[in-house]
């Protein structure tokens, strides 16, 4: 810079410094390269948004910059996987899951190639960037593509463990993450099992099931309700597909109410997946699917939107209280 600016000013290349949580993706991939894995990472003009700039600096020979060419990136990743590399490609979830849907289906999923698709800034976390940058459909779309596994880690530590667990996983995976500002849910790196829900609490009044960005606020709501005397269970359903049906059925056996919470349309995502399991078993459980109610989000800073849509801890708690008041 031609002249030093205030500490409060910042520009795009300083994003990692402003948001250290962005390191998780790169750190996990750097570990795999150190272990000798044929990792390659690519992005579509967003290396500072997803933190891959760090990986780029460590392994310039394993980093591919695709520019603003998302569809080319996905198909090229499939090509790299077809000759033995383990490609991770990352861009905004809106562009990855929606713009590249057909490339993902044909070139990656149908072809059964172990590409890892990192959809970041998912949900409404891009706030006032608006609908073009929101992804409240990606879980539903990705979940309906055969051969594709769908995982939404709750924080940086879980993301790193998901990537570690994914290393020898033979199928393609869509990994849905946020913007590197997730409050910590898992203080330690706990080995991740793809397809297994993580049970935090069991409850006899209500079980809350959350995924990805809603795990932290929903856990806070769970703890507040438990502290107030309610018996609330909590499941972190990080793997949305294949969904852990056994964990859902166990929760349904214990509590007559289930509340799913997702930063996604209530149609077709986590709530839809849980509903499918419950309906298939014919269980008499009161299910409330909480999220974005089949509409496009307003414009606002993300935290303002979470409050508005009752996706912060207070909002989730209020939603749970309303459900607890319903007769079952």
């Amino acid at each position: 810079m031609s002249k030093p600016l205030s500490d409060k000013s910042w520009q795009y290349r300083q994003l990692n410094a402003v948001t250290p949580g962005l390191d998780a993706l790169s750190d996990a991939l750097i570990e795999l390269v150190a272990a000798g894995e044929p990792i390659v990472a690519g992005t579509a003009d967003l290396q500072y948004s997803n933190g891959l700039a760090k990986f780029h600096a460590h392994h310039p020979d394993r980093f591919v910059q695709f520019g603003i060419s998302e569809q080319n990136m996905v198909s090229a990743a499939a090509g790299m996987a077809a000759v033995g590399m383990k490609p991770y490609v990352a861009t905004f979830a809106s562009f990855l899951a929606l713009l590249c849907c057909e490339q993902i289906r044909m070139d990656v999923a149908y072809s059964k190639l172990p590409v890892r698709l990192i959809g970041h800034h998912a949900g409404i976390s891009l706030g006032f960037y608006g609908t073009s940058h929101h992804a409240t459909e990606d879980l539903a779309i990705m979940r309906s593509i055969a051969n594709l596994t769908v995982i939404a880690p709750a924080d940086g530590n879980q993301l790193m463990e998901v990537i570690k667990a994914a290393n020898d996983y033979p199928h393609p995976i869509y990994i849905r993450i946020q913007r590197g500002r997730d409050p910590e849910v898992y203080a330690d790196r706990q080995p991740f099992k793809i397809g297994k829900a993580i049970s935090h609490y069991a409850g006899t009044d209500l079980t809350i099931i959350a995924t990805g960005s809603t795990v932290h606020p929903a856990l806070e709501a769970t703890r507040a309700l438990r502290a107030a005397g309610a018996s609330i269970g909590f499941l972190d359903m990080a793997t949305v597909k294949p969904i852990d049906g056994d964990a859902i059925l166990e929760a349904a056996a214990q509590s007559p109410r289930i509340l799913t919470v997702e930063e996604h349309n209530v149609l077709g995502g986590l709530g839809g997946a849980v509903a499918e399991v419950l309906a298939s078993e014919g269980l008499p459980v009161k299910l409330t699917r909480h999220g974005i109610y089949d509409e496009y989000s307003l414009i606002a800073p993300p935290t303002h939107l979470y409050a508005h849509y009752e996706l912060d801890s207070k909002g989730i708690e209020a939603r749970a209280v309303r459900l607890l008041e319903e007769r079952v």
């Binding site: 795009y12 500072y48 603003i68 960037y129 608006g130």
Partner: protein, 295 residues
């Protein structure tokens, strides 16, 4: 005589060159666009300053000179259309829409706040005067092709202007539109590439090179022009000249050579400013430079 903030329809204008007075007015509006951008991003606490600064003279020449518009009538059906593939520069457009009485200027004060129609990208469902929404890079030229084709089908005389970024040329859809526009002889479609040289991750030429741009568009069958995008008189003259030809059978692509962050020295030399935030003390320095700038 043209007063600041006043627009008139351009049809029937005799001169293809703007007068000194008109040029001074267009420069003033470009300055207004830059200053308002700084004010609005202070509300949002993050934004795309430099993407506006490279295009401020282009916006001024389009909205205040070239385009056929009627003050206060954003839905006038014979208006010229404008859309922007580089939607992240919308923060520079909204003040102009308010200046033209297309939206209430009070809306600017709530830029990006909960429920505002004004976000980082332009939204046609929320903002009168926005002819097409954008935010996902690469769609705009296709939408512009559709508008130009529909205009011809319905015997309308309006021109369709589409501004795209130079990084946007990396999107495959742009080249589908390039084929389509030429094939369908969309002579009332005028594209403008804001060739500021930078995108989020760095220099366009370093990320995925797009040169030779002019030759590419020529090869696709487009009439091409190159202009200094900060020479507002040259831009206005070119746009007036292009609009004066009703018989053109090829779409036009203008390569506007611009400087990312034009007007603020520390932004012109640091490409990371594609996205960022200026603390008020630094914003004051930027405002002082813009106030003093002579282009």
């Amino acid at each position: 005589m043209t007063q600041p903030g006043k627009i008139e329809t351009t049809r029937g204008r005799n001169s293809l060159k703007p007068s000194d007075e008109e040029i001074a007015f267009l420069k003033d509006r470009a300055k207004f666009c830059r200053l308002e951008t700084i004010r609005l991003i202070e509300i949002a606490k993050v934004g795309h300053y430099t993407s506006v600064f490279s295009a401020a003279e282009l916006f001024s020449a389009l909205y205040y000179d070239a385009m056929n518009l009627r003050r206060g009538e954003p839905k006038w059906e014979d208006r010229d259309r404008f859309m922007m593939g580089k939607g992240h520069a919308a923060v520079g457009i909204f003040p102009i829409l308010a200046d033209l009485d297309f939206i209430d200027s009070g809306l600017l004060d709530g830029y990006t706040r909960l429920g505002s129609p004004l976000g980082d990208h332009p939204d046609m469902t929320k903002v009168p005067g926005i002819d097409f929404s954008s935010g996902s890079i690469g769609h705009a030229l296709s939408a512009g092709c559709g508008m130009a084709l529909a205009g011809r089908m319905s015997d309308k005389e309006f021109f369709t202007f589409v501004m795209i970024g130079d990084g946007e040329l990396q999107e495959g859809q742009v080249w589908e539109a390039a084929l389509f526009g030429a094939h369908n002889k969309l002579g009332k479609l005028i594209g403008i590439i804001d060739r500021n040289g930078y995108q989020l991750d760095g220099s366009v030429d370093d990320i995925i090179g797009v040169e030779p741009i002019v030759e590419k568009w020529q090869a696709f069958g487009w009439e091409t022009h190159v202009v200094d995008g900060h020479d507002v008189a040259a831009v206005a003259t070119l746009l007036r000249t292009l609009k004066a030809n009703d018989e053109r059978t090829r779409p036009v692509m203008i390569v506007a050579q611009t400087v990312k962050g034009k007007g603020v020295s520390y932004m012109e030399t640091e490409p990371g400013w594609h996205l960022g935030y200026l603390d008020p003390s630094d914003a004051a320095r930027a405002i002082a430079e813009i106030e003093a700038m002579e282009i």
